[in-house]
């Protein structure tokens, strides 16, 4: 299964997830996107830019000693949505950047997102 199919399956398995993107945080590029309706690229770019701002290298490096570990997850309330960013454990520049309904089971979502990233990064 390719990344696009994996991302679609991930989003569709969690109804509260409206947008799931696989992004490169260092460049601010959305590499793949799965959405419940077609969105303008500028909207996806804006999500990625916001993710880069809160989990990019500058802030991550500053937060690392505070947490004593690399910060891998960020949640940002935005209106009736949550922007959820989960960084890959093996490829620090890669992340899932998702927009979810505010009522999403966050604990479950974070766990599934980490599994999804591991599957995407798995060789072969």
């Amino acid at each position: 299964m390719g990344v696009a199919d994996q991302l679609n399956a991930f989003r569709q398995a969690i109804p509260a997830c409206r947008v799931a993107t696989f992004a490169d945080l260092s460049s601010g590029l959305v590499l793949f996107a799965s959405t419940d309706r077609r969105l303008p690229q500028e909207r996806l770019d804006a999500l990625c830019e916001r993710a880069k701002g809160v989990l990019g290298k500058n802030l991550s490096n500053a937060l690392h000693p505070v947490f004593g570990a690399p910060v891998g997850q960020v949640v940002l309330p935005a209106g009736d949505s949550l922007l959820v960013v989960v960084r890959s454990a093996t490829e620090p520049d890669e992340a899932l950047v998702c927009e979810c309904a505010a009522g999403v089971d966050l604990q479950l979502f974070l766990s599934r997102a980490a599994e999804e990233l591991a599957a995407i990064d798995a060789p072969g």
């Binding site: 077609r38 303008p40 909207r43 937060l63 570990a69 309330p77 935005a78």
Partner: protein
């Protein structure tokens, strides 16, 4: 490895996974929104400089040059309606008047077709025009195409950008020494009781968070916000909250024990 090379490798690997190839070309099928939308999506999903040629089974072709998800120029063959050399572009910011012709050419190619063949080749540096090009959103706006059902970006909480920007400054300014704050740091220490922290964090998780140590203080740069944290069984969690402690959460960061 350079950043550009790293990205090229990543995109090539990802693209190779996704494509169905016929003689070096892919078969582009219309989604629910039709072939025109599928062609525009090809542009929208092209980051590195590429010449994309759409071709009908009857041999009519249309090529677009794209970089950074923006259309740089287009050529039609055989040329009937495009410019003097069958070329439209380069497309700078003042080219709204040309965009309907661009979309019309794409629409003509797709008419009566069940699918198109797509060939993609890298743009050589010499052929890249010195313009930013036009986005698919601009093409859609200029031609009245309703590609998107939702164009309003979700807005972050007020003051979010300023607070997060200031946070990095504050983190650098105050070493994290929750157990032994000294001097100015001690004066700024904010200790929320366990219920207060749970109330703040409980809105957006994690469930069952327990207040532990507070790991950072507010500073001048984030005078309107506090950075509070706690440790759960498997992670360290910190939230940026308004100094008014109104129950809002501006942002929440989480670091798991396994580094994820």
């Amino acid at each position: 490895m350079t950043e550009d090379r790293r990205l090229r490798d990543k995109l090539a690997k990802l693209a190779a996974e996704a494509e169905t190839v016929e003689d070096g070309r892919r078969r582009l099928s219309p989604g629910a929104a039709g072939l025109l939308a599928a062609m525009l999506a090809e542009i929208d999903e092209t980051v590195l400089g590429r010449r994309i040629t759409f071709e009908t089974d009857g041999g009519r072709r249309l090529s677009v040059e794209v970089a950074n998800r923006r259309l740089l120029r287009m050529s039609e063959a055989p040329d009937e309606n495009a410019g003097p050399e069958g070329l439209l572009g380069p497309l700078g910011p003042d080219t709204d008047g040309v965009l309907p012709a661009v979309v019309a050419a794409m629409r003509r190619l797709g008419e009566g077709q069940d699918s198109l063949l797509v060939a993609t080749v890298p743009l050589d540096a010499a052929s890249k025009p010195d313009v930013l090009g036009r986005s698919v959103a601009a093409l859609a706006r200029a031609t009245g195409i309703d590609l998107y059902s939702d164009t309003a970006p979700a807005e972050a909480s007020g003051g979010f950008s300023a607070s997060v920007s200031g946070l990095a400054v504050a983190v650098r300014r105050f070493a994290p020494s929750p157990s032994a704050p000294t001097g100015v740091q001690a004066g700024r220490l904010e200790a929320l009781d366990e219920d207060g922290l749970r109330q703040i964090l409980g809105q957006i998780g994690p469930k069952g968070a327990r207040a532990g140590r507070f790991i950072l203080l507010s500073g001048d740069a984030v005078s309107d916000a506090l950075f509070v944290g706690c440790e759960t069984e498997d992670a360290t969690v910190a939230a940026l909250v308004p100094a008014t402690r109104s129950g809002e959460v501006i942002a929440l960061w989480r670091a798991t024990r396994d580094g994820g």
